[in-house]
C-alpha cells in the first residue's frame, strides 16, 4: 500500500467483491417469488386446412388457423431483478398417433419499462400450426395457454405458466377456399 497503484489495486478488488455480494443479495430477495398471474384468452376464429407439408415425412398434414385475444396484467411480475419477459402462447392436444403435442403459436418480448398491461385483440398466429399428421381435424380438445420466461438481472430463468387457459375444437371439414 505504499504506492498509488497498490492502493488502487486493493480498492478496486474490494469494490468488485462488495458488488458481487450486492448482486447476490439482489438475487436472494427475489428468488422465491411466485411469478404467475391470471391470464384471459379468447378465440374468435378457427379454421383448418390440409396442405402439402415439405418439412415432414408425409405428403399432406393438417394446418390450423386460430385467431385469438389475450389479456393479462403483468405488472406484479416486474421487480428490481427482472430485465424482461418472453411470452409465448402454446397449443396442447393429443392425437391418435401422438399422446402429447405442444405447438408454439405466438410470442412476444416485454421489456422493463414498457407497457405491462397486455391487451391484444384479433391476433393471428405468428408460427404455422402444423400437426404431425392429420390429427387436427375434428379434434375436440385443443388447450391454449400463455407462459413466460422470466429473464432476471441475477439468478435463474424460470418458466412460468399463467393461470387460465382456453379449450377449443377444430371443425370436421377442411376449408378449401383460398381465404386468410
Amino acid at each position: 500500500m505504499n504506492t498509488v497503484l497498490s492502493r488502487a489495486n486493493s480498492l478496486f478488488a474490494f469494490s468488485l467483491s462488495v458488488m458481487a455480494a450486492l448482486t447476490f443479495g439482489c438475487f436472494i430477495t427475489t428468488a422465491f417469488k411466485d411469478r404467475s398471474v391470471p391470464v384471459d384468452i379468447q378465440v374468435s376464429k378457427v379454421m383448418i386446412k390440409n396442405v402439402d407439408d415439405f418439412t415432414g415425412p408425409r405428403e399432406r398434414s393438417d394446418l390450423g388457423f386460430v385467431t385469438f385475444d389475450i389479456s393479462a396484467n403483468l405488472q406484479p411480475i416486474f421487480d428490481w431483478n427482472v430485465k424482461e419477459l418472453f411470452l409465448y402462447l402454446t397449443a396442447e392436444y393429443s392425437t391418435k398417433s401422438n399422446a402429447l403435442n405442444q405447438v408454439v403459436l405466438w410470442d412476444k418480448i416485454v421489456l422493463r419499462g414498457e407497457n405491462t398491461k397486455l391487451n391484444m385483440k384479433d391476433v393471428k398466429s405468428k408460427y404455422f400450426f402444423f400437426d404431425d399428421g392429420n390429427g387436427l381435424r375434428a379434434n375436440k380438445n385443443i388447450t391454449l395457454t400463455l407462459s413466460w420466461n422470466v429473464v432476471p438481472n441475477a439468478g435463474i430463468l424460470p418458466l412460468v405458466m399463467g393461470s387460465g387457459h382456453k379449450s377449443l375444437a377444430f371443425p370436421e371439414t377442411y376449408e378449401t377456399a383460398k381465404s386468410y
Binding site: R7, L11, F14, S15, V18, L22
Partner: protein
Amino acid sequence: MLSAFKSIPTHMDYKGQKLAEQIFQGVILVSAVIGFIYGFTIQQFGWTVYIMLAGFTISCLLTLPPWPMYRKNPLNWQPALPETSGETRDKPQENQKKKKHK
C-alpha cells in the same frame, strides 16, 4: 514526461496505510448498504450500482493521493555512521534523500 510522474512522492507511513485501508473499506461498505436499501425501496437495481460507484469515487479521492494525514507517523531512521572518505560520498546523499521524504 513519464519521469515527472514517477518522481512525485506517493508513499505513506505504516499507520497511514492502515488508516487509508480502514477509510476506503468503511466508505465502500457504507455506500453499498445505502445503495442496497435505496435500490430495494425503488425496485431498480441500477441505482444500487450508481450509489456504489459514487462511494468508489469518494474513496478513491480520499485514499489514493498521499494526503498529509497519512504521513503523521514517519519512520525514524538511524543516524548515519561516520565512515571512510570513499563511502562518505554516498551516505550524505542517502541522508539527504531521507530528509527530503520527511
